[in-house]
């Protein structure tokens, strides 16, 4: 793998966590503040203030790591941007505006507690929720275009007849936007709930028990709504892939040969053209794709070996994503049953919830791996190969090491600060 790919991959893997939390946290914050406005219970106010501090730190790191990506598009992929900028620039421009609104209202919200009436302050949080979700959606449409390029024609090697709207709304846009946006609420819900569960287990916030319990409930409600929806979203996107991106679909299912009665293979080691030691569920894939065990599913043998993604990575990432999501769903169901019977979560459930935080991050990263590795060897499928798009400028390896250190320092400081915010008395 080239240094350019390693750097871009690391940058995206870093940014996606902060971006997702930046989309999801504002919803938790204004929910807590809204509950305070209605009930005037102090615990909700303290919760909103604590979460708002976390939001401030995570949003700032998300903003600067997003800036790295905006630069890296040009620094690492000049050939790609030369072609793609003029086709897929529109959603990036719209994202620019959405990010603007987000940054403006984050400033108003974080520094405006004593400058506005409580109602106005709560209202100033709404644009953050909306523009956060919108900016995630706009950026995701650009990724959708990379999977199924649309909105242009190529005549004699030059791009003609550009239709920016058709490019932005390329076939996978809706399924990808739903899947990505839901992922943000899944990871934020479980992440915030995990922090609260951990605090209850450690008894590190005995003076603020009411606040932490309220936080656990709000976050788990968001998580428990988002995770079943995400299962539906995941099913929809898999069906889309089976039809429109069969190579990606075949590699995430590690299906090498086009066949009827195609099985689902769970786990296993990909070697050559086969999967060994995997668990096979006969005909299940055919049923899943077409509700018919006799249905034919396209395998990797349809494309030349040079045009195949790294199957081992894609398959392992896919299993990791689905496996983590299964555990998340299980914990959410158990919590919902306990909560509906108006019981307080017992210790084993709290441990489960605490583990769901890291697990949700794993699911997001694995999902990102599936879509990115699954598109290889293309940067824009069928249009431009990743290897042809990377920069030839020297020194990218130095940049990689330098930014790697930056990411480690940012992540470590963030972690340390968030722990302080979590354990200190709210301001």
């Amino acid at each position: 793998m080239t240094a350019a790919r390693a750097l871009m991959g690391t940058s995206l893997a870093f940014h996606i966590v902060f971006a997702a939390l930046g989309v999801g946290l504002p919803l938790l914050v204004i929910t807590a503040e809204g509950l305070w406005l209605r009930t005037r219970r102090r615990a909700f106010y303290d919760l909103a203030r604590t979460w708002a501090k976390g939001m401030a730190i995570l949003f700032a790191v998300g903003a600067v790591s997003g800036t790295i990506l905006a630069f890296e598009l040009g620094l690492l992929w000049p050939t790609f941007m030369k072609y793609a900028g003029g086709i897929i620039g529109l959603p990036f421009s719209l994202e620019g505006f959405a990010f603007f609104i987000e940054a403006i209202f984050i400033g108003l919200y974080l520094y405006g507690w004593d400058r506005m009436s409580p109602g106005a302050h709560w209202l100033s949080g709404l644009p953050i929720v909306l523009s956060g979700a919108l900016s995630a959606a706009f950026v995701t449409t650009a990724n959708a275009w990379m999977n199924v390029p649309a909105g242009f024609r190529i005549v004699n090697g030059t791009v003609v007849e550009v239709d920016p709207i058709a490019a932005m709304l390329s076939p996978p846009w809706l399924v990808e936007v739903l899947h990505t946006t839901l992922a943000a609420y899944v990871v934020t819900g479980f992440g915030a709930a995990a922090v609260c569960a951990y605090a209850l287990l450690r008894r590190s916030a005995e003076d603020r028990r009411e606040q932490v319990r309220a936080g656990l409930t709000i976050a788990m409600i968001v998580a428990s709504i988002a995770i079943p929806l995400q299962w539906v979203g995941g099913d929809v996107i898999a069906r889309f892939d089976a039809e429109r991106e069969p190579t990606k679909f075949a590699s995430l299912e590690a299906l090498f040969h086009t066949r009827r009665h195609a099985p689902i293979t769970i786990g296993g080691i990909v070697s050559g053209d086969a999967v060994r030691y995997g668990i096979e569920i006969p005909s299940a894939l055919s049923v899943l794709v077409a509700f018919d065990p006799n249905a034919e599913v396209k395998g990797l043998d349809r494309v030349a070996p040079d045009d195949r993604p790294p199957v081992a990575v894609v398959h392992a990432s896919f299993d990791t994503m689905v496996g983590s999501a299964s555990l998340l769903l299980l914990v959410a169901i158990v919590w919902a049953i306990v909560a509906l019977r108006k019981r307080t979560p017992a210790k084993p459930l709290l441990i489960g919830i605490a583990l769901c935080g890291p697990l949700a991050v794993v699911a997001v990263e694995a999902g990102w791996f599936v879509t990115e590795f699954g598109r290889q060897p293309w940067i824009a499928r069928g249009l431009l190969r990743t290897s042809d798009a990377a920069t030839v400028a020297p020194g990218v390896d130095v940049q990689f090491y330098a930014f790697f250190v930056v990411y480690v320092v940012l992540a470590a400081t963030c972690w340390w600060l968030m722990r302080r915010v979590g354990t200190k008395e709210a301001a």
Partner: protein, 330 residues
């Protein structure tokens, strides 16, 4: 043709507003690093207080400029990325560390050692970022991407001086404490002198080493713009002395605009001299139109939101750092 003009105006507006507002935030970091004297901590508090609510919004002008460039002028964006990767990576390094350090030190205020080291990072990165952004701009102006050329490096220095000047003038009105105001007034005077000296150096170096660039600089457009900028610099100096701080604020913003306007004008219709004109680098008319429709629609939301932000936090001058809000009633 009109769509092209519109796209170019949006791009140049974004760059200019980033230079002024983003520049002021970088300059704040410079003065944070050079906070001295008995009111050292008060200076830093005023800077934190001034930057806090607005820096993320100001930062978005940069993102917006990048996005506009690669949407409307993609080959120029690609070429800049491929040829100026070193200075832009260094600038990026500064931008990232500045933003992160500012937030980290604010939220680690109760751990003195941590806050102190992030304060140092905040100050240093606030110099690195504008220096290399200025250097990259200078390198573009040479038309050879010669970022290590004396001219480009001196443009970086000029960038830092300009940021420091804008920040010092803006900071005067960010506090109501008279001695603190005088601290920033003194800094504004020194920074204005620094801008004059740092502005002279690139001009002299261009005369020596960049004949094409120098010819453009003594052309009518640039000559008028530079004249106006120098005049406005004098206005800044006099109004600071006369304690007309509001006038100084307007003058320093206009001065930065005149400098940038001179640059754009001197190399027009070139986007990158000798390589790309705005026209030759432009995306298809369909994309330019779509972009302008999106930009107009976006502006309908953006302008009132920005106005609300600045009215809320910058509306009445002389607010001093009231940090923590009162606790609410039960």
């Amino acid at each position: 043709m009109t769509a092209l003009l519109g796209a170019a105006l949006v791009a140049l507006t974004a760059v200019s507003l980033y230079a002024i507002f983003g520049g002021a935030d970088f300059g704040g970091g410079v003065w944070d690093l050079f906070a001295t004297g008995p009111r050292r901590q008060a200076q830093r508090d005023a800077i934190t207080h001034a930057i806090g609510p607005v820096w993320e919004a100001n930062h978005v002008w940069l993102i917006f400029a990048l996005v506009t460039l690669f949407t409307c002028f993609p080959p120029a964006f690609a070429e800049i990325g491929a040829n100026l990767s070193a200075p832009l990576s260094l600038a990026l390094f500064g931008i990232v560390l500045r933003g992160a350090a500012f937030v980290f030190r604010n939220y680690a205020a109760d751990s003195l050692a941590t806050a102190r080291s992030w304060t140092a990072v905040f100050g240093a990165s606030s110099i690195i970022a504008p220096f290399f952004l200025g250097d990259a701009a200078g390198a573009v102006a040479t038309g050879r991407y010669a970022w290590t050329s004396p001219f480009a490096l001196s443009a970086g220095l000029f960038g830092v001086a300009l940021c420091a000047q804008i920040a010092a003038v803006f900071l005067v009105r960010e506090t109501s404490d008279p001695p603190l105001r005088d601290d920033f007034r003194r800094r504004a005077v020194r920074a204005t002198l620094a801008v004059w000296i740092a502005g002279l150096i690139p001009a002299l170096l261009a005369r020596q080493g960049e004949p094409a660039l120098f010819a453009a600089l003594i052309g009518p457009t640039a000559r008028i713009a530079i004249g106006i900028a120098m005049l406005l610099g004098v206005v800044v100096m006099l109004s600071i002395q006369a304690r007309r701080d509001g006038l100084a604020r307007a003058a320093v913003g206009a001065e930065a605009l005149a400098v940038l306007g001179g640059w754009y004008g001197a190399q027009a219709p070139n986007l990158i001299p000798g390589r790309w004109t705005y026209e030759s680098a432009a995306s298809s008319p369909a994309m330019l139109h779509a972009f302008l429709v999106a930009a107009s629609a976006g502006a309908l939301f953006l302008i009132p939101s920005l106005a609300l932000l600045f009215v809320t936090f910058k509306g009445h001058s002389g607010e001093s750092g009231a940090a923590l809000p009162p606790k609410p009633n039960r």
